[in-house]
Symmetry: C2
Subunit: 473 residues, 2 copies
């Protein structure tokens, strides 16, 4: 008797089947499976992986015995049945990230997750193993726990492989996929998972401009692509879906198109990974942002330079605010990629102290490795270590620091470019607080002597980038 296979909770159970390779199996063969644990049923799609190989991936979320049976339009792939044991997760495996308490995130096991994201759009696309290893090493040593990355190439790239079949823009065949491309991508998503880093996958982007044609496919092809991507990748617990980067720069699609595609992803994904869409437009008025109250969006993935608007965005849509682009630290000639480290760190503090999350990006264009945001490699900026410091401050505080402030348990007052020498603070008369002066740039925490109650005047150092932290004793 064969030992039953064991898979830990939120890891991947993969079923491999052999089947037909003639014709176009990507398009012509339907395959799925029904996984059942007690009353719980999940039905992931399978996918064709080339050379007559078919796979069905499944991410179990309950410990215990799961039974499955396959369903297919091809008799040889249909009716395969079996079971496996889902065991408790090992340390570090906390499940996929979910929205929690409206404005926050937590892993499925309940552990709070604060995204400290970064962006490396095409770090997996250049066929440079050494550089990808370097990127992973850099990420490992960084404070970042989420990476925004694209599936599709830009017009300026000559990648060794891409999501669809073909070798160059002219012969891209959008009726077939390139299993080797996906296998490589999956290896990297797995590497990120190993490092505890979420992969915020950008499914479309407007940087094609008709070169590859992937930015202007018809809706049927878009869905064909999305379904394949979801079948392959959704079983990775660290996957987030970012339907498009700078969607409004893509003139081939309307907001209604994006809405339908987002709902399609919502329908296809058995695990309901986080879903959002990311704007490009330069906006003075926040009302021109995508309407993040739409129910198929789990969180707000914003591009805007003004972190002070975080407060407004929280009011507009009671969903987490993730400012995925706030300009990058760097020295590019472009506005989006050349703010100073000081300015970048300032924006991080401004956004977080208002209850949002600010993602990092770096674009130094004259250093040894290419710009981090496009190719990964090495980080040169002044902000990463200060983001690590900010992360340590935030993770040492309450999971919901805004609610804690409302309840009088905790306050983090950030003064930014202001440099007051004191601050009057109104504290409850019936509670006692200790206070720390935090220097966001120098990365120091200086406890103040004594404790504080009621209306108090607290001395401050009179320099920029200072925060005052009050914690109820």
């Amino acid at each position: 008797m064969q030992t039953r296979r064991e898979v830990e909770k939120w890891d991947i159970f993969e079923l491999v089947l052999q089947g037909p390779s003639e014709g176009n199996p990507f398009r012509d063969v339907r395959l799925s499976a029904q996984f059942q644990y007690k009353n719980r049923i999940v039905k992931p799609d399978g996918f064709y992986d080339g050379n007559g190989t078919y796979r069905i991936r499944f991410m179990p979320d309950r410990a215990g015995v799961w039974r499955y049976v396959t369903r297919s339009s091809k008799p040889g792939l249909d009716g395969h049945a079996g079971e496996f044991v889902c065991v408790e997760p090992s340390p570090g495996n906390r499940g996929p990230v979910r929205v929690k308490d409206r404005y926050l995130f937590a892993y499925e096991d309940g552990t709070p997750f604060m995204p400290f994201g970064t962006t490396c759009y095409h770090w997996t696309h250049h066929g440079d193993e050494r550089m990808e290893a370097l990127t992973l090493q850099t990420l490992k040593e960084s404070p970042f726990n989420k990476v925004r990355m694209c599936l599709l190439p830009t017009r300026d790239m000559q990648p060794p492989a891409f999501a669809f079949a073909g070798t160059c823009p002219g012969d891209a065949d959008t009726t077939r996929f390139n299993p080797a491309f996906f296998a490589h991508l999956e290896k990297r998503i797995g590497d990120l998972r190993q490092l505890g880093i979420e992969a915020d996958l950008i499914l479309f982007h407007p940087y094609d401009k008709g070169h590859w044609g992937f930015d202007g496919m018809d809706e049927e092809t878009d869905r064909f692509y999305l379904r394949y991507v979801i079948a392959r990748l959704a079983a990775f617990r660290n996957v987030w879906w970012s339907l498009s980067n700078e969607y409004d720069f893509n003139k081939n699609k309307t907001v209604a198109d994006w809405d339908r595609l987002l709902q399609y992803v919502q329908r296809c994904d058995p695990y309901q990974h986080l879903r959002s869409i990311h704007n490009g437009t330069k906006m003075y008025k926040t009302s021109t942002l995508y309407d993040y109250t739409k129910p198929w969006l789990t969180h707000q993935s914003i591009q805007h330079w003004d972190a002070e608007l975080t407060t407004e965005w929280r009011e507009q849509a009671a969903k987490p605010v993730v400012i995925d682009e706030i300009s990058y630290e760097g020295n590019s000639s472009r506005r989006w990629g050349n703010i100073s480290g000081e300015e970048f760190v300032h924006r991080c503090w401004e956004g977080m102290s208002r209850g949002g999350f600010v993602s990092h990006g770096e674009s130094f264009i004259d250093r040894e490795t290419r710009a981090w945001i496009s190719a990964g490699g090495v980080l040169y900026g002044e902000s990463p270590k200060r983001i690590a410091f900010l992360r340590s401050i935030m993770e040492a505080g309450p999971a919901d620091w805004i609610e804690a402030a409302e309840k009088g348990a905790y306050r983090l007052l950030y003064f930014g470019r202001r440099q007051p020498v004191y601050r009057h603070v109104e504290l409850p008369e019936d509670a006692v607080y200790r206070a720390d002066i935090i220097d966001a740039w120098e990365m120091t925490v200086t406890p103040l002597d004594g404790t504080f109650t009621g209306r108090v005047k607290i001395g401050l150092p009179g320099k920029p980038y200072i925060a005052l932290r009050l914690v109820r004793v």
Copy 2:
């Protein structure tokens, strides 16, 4: 035969008459004069100066012989006739400042005037001659050529004298004025004139809160006050009228009230000094600003922290943009008074490079002299010398640097907190430019080698607070 009196153009001709002192001459005696040069007639009001003395002040604006005759409700003051000779102005006397070319200012003699303002609200009110002398000395050594200053006291002040009769809030008599207060103020306005500094006089403000009652007088009393102020001060060529500071914080008055009072000032002032009103509200949307297109306003006197909006304000009202409050350099606990010198200088460059003027203010609260914005004294900040540098840069460039940019003669590109290592610039193919790198913070100008034509890539130092200046050879 008596020698005719000589007064230089834009200086003050003053006629002194003796008349009745019984009753309330401030209210009961009407006095004016008609001054005539060829076909030009100007009719300034006179005013009662106490002790039976009446004065009529007149600022001639044409060289030549002016004749006058007085008109009064009192026979003894009526019908005094005479003449004087207006001679050409001495060096440094360029006349009052006027709006020129929509967005700019110039003295009446045509010399461009770029306001580099500062604020010392009550520097003349504290009865401290030593401090006033110190303020004048500081101003003399500063880059500032305009001072915002109030006529009326705040609720927290105990001034030795104020505009109206009386000694304390309880016995203020708004039917009479205090000539000694005005004589002192006029001395200081004269001192400023001597230094080439414009006095941007704030006629009302909301910091009274009913204490003195001057923020909630009836319209007749407001007009009585304004008419007296204009009769006394309008002949000073360096006077600007700022009808109110933070007008929207005064709950006793509506925008319609302010409109009527502004039109009253417009009617009473024979010289049409610059006129504006200054907002207080914290605004996200610029549409809540006072409507600066109203014809009785000569320029926009804005409070806002975002100098980037200068471009928008120019579009909204084709009048000069003067950001009279953009937050002050300092270390006050209040948001309006604690930005860093670096941030302040940055805002100045941002606003000016977009075609606006940014006024200075300083509010260090723990130094030897009190906060500059309220009491004058000494400046402690890091911004004044850098504003001097900015002024030298601007005054060395074209008077209308925005128009010059449109015509291809000059460009000043300011990169702020951005730190690009190069910039592509599109220059005409048929012209040759030289270029300078300007460091706004370090106050250096570094000429680049060679000349530039057409589309060029210009190397930049990759640090914040840099400007690139291009000048057609």
